[in-house]
Symmetry: C2
């Protein structure tokens, strides 16, 4: 009998899991064909999740192991379940982390500001005061002010995604011929936005939509949920 | 007796090779311990280089093989000289190209505009009219106008490099524990600027300078030349 895996994750009021870091681990588990019990937590539940002691999700429990930070979890999964490696070499692991840094810094950081008010509004009522206070401290201003810059700022966000389009013009997946951890990082960003966006982040016809659609279809439609919102205006 | 390797490269008036794409191949050759004959070309010589038919450098000649585009050359080197691979897996290759796209798009593209006038002024006199005409058409304005935005624009360039700093805070090289192709891509950008910059692109004390210094020291000081200009103001 195998030891069960439990994944603690962040949910909003409608029960959707939204954390981009959780999404990459959901994909990583599916990539390896592993079953997992998903344990929901609101923003203010996270400090108590998995017995306490963690500040962020995802948190993976496996027997006596409790581990957070998505790259550390991915490493653990590769050690505990070596088939279908997420990182076949140390170099692949380093390169995925380098991509992650560029992706978050040059693109998703902008989206975070534009959609933080949507995240607030979608959160459980009990979590909203904490979310507002912590994010306004981080951004240095009201969530409403960040959201007000969205329409003017979305073109720069879309332009910052150009390296993804350049890559996907050469090959079907960010990781190459088959989906890999870089895709799960990339898709995680868009599935986070799909959980909350009151206005679509991408323009109609964006060539990224083809990759996002194929990514959502992976592993039995892992990235699809009827509660999600559109990532682009209809054509 | 081994078949000699010849690398066609771009030089400016003082004889320095500056192309960032040539730099990564110089490092790739040194990574594999290969000797190479370097063949200089000014901007307007490139169409005649290596027997003609190429628009860009680097061009590698090896026996009857003539090949351009830095990633294709790297692949060729890995096939012809499998020791000390640049890409140990297809995934490492795809990830290096994804990093390259983000690096050029989010950071080095900005520097290109700021330093195009310096490249023009450093080019051989015979190459300057071609350089000015082709780059002004690409940028949609005079080189002087692009250069005038430099002082106001450099802070955004430096901020765009933050993912490199984040990565190098975790590990000594972009590629991980040892220098690899991601480092050669990264260093190539700075060695290009070091060939021409009339004002330093980085601030004094930038933590990137430690990595750049270590990179320039590799392979017997491959990245050092007394004709180069400072990358940062003195502390």
């Amino acid at each position: 009998m195998t030891t069960p895996l439990r994944l603690h994750q962040l949910v909003i009021d409608n029960g959707l899991a939204i954390s981009p870091f959780v999404w990459r681990i959901r994909y990583a588990l599916a990539h390896k064909g592993l079953e997992v019990e998903e344990v929901p937590a609101g923003f203010t539940d996270i400090p108590k999740a998995a017995g306490g002691g963690f500040k962020t999700v995802p948190i993976l429990e496996h027997g006596d192991t409790r581990i957070s930070e998505s790259f550390d979890i991915a490493d653990y999964l590769d050690r505990a379940f070596p088939d279908a490696p997420l990182f076949a070499t140390r170099g692949e692991r380093a390169a995925a982390q380098l991509f992650d840094s560029f992706y978050l810094w040059s693109a998703m950081r902008m989206a975070h500001g534009f959609y933080a008010l949507d995240i607030h509004n979608a959160a459980r009522a009990v979590d909203r005061p904490y979310y507002r206070q912590s994010r306004e401290a981080r951004f240095g201003g009201p969530l409403e002010e960040m959201a007000a810059g969205r329409d003017a700022g979305l073109p720069a966000f879309r332009e910052a995604l150009q390296p993804l389009r350049m890559t996907l013009a050469r090959q079907p997946w960010l990781a190459g011929d088959a989906p890999g951890y870089a895709d799960y990082i990339g898709l995680g960003g868009f599935l986070w936005l799909a959980g909350v966006a009151s206005a679509p982040p991408l323009a109609a016809g964006d060539p990224l939509l083809g990759w996002i659609d194929r990514g959502r279809d992976l592993y039995g439609g892992l990235g699809r949920d009827p509660r999600q919102r559109p990532l682009a205006a209809p054509n």
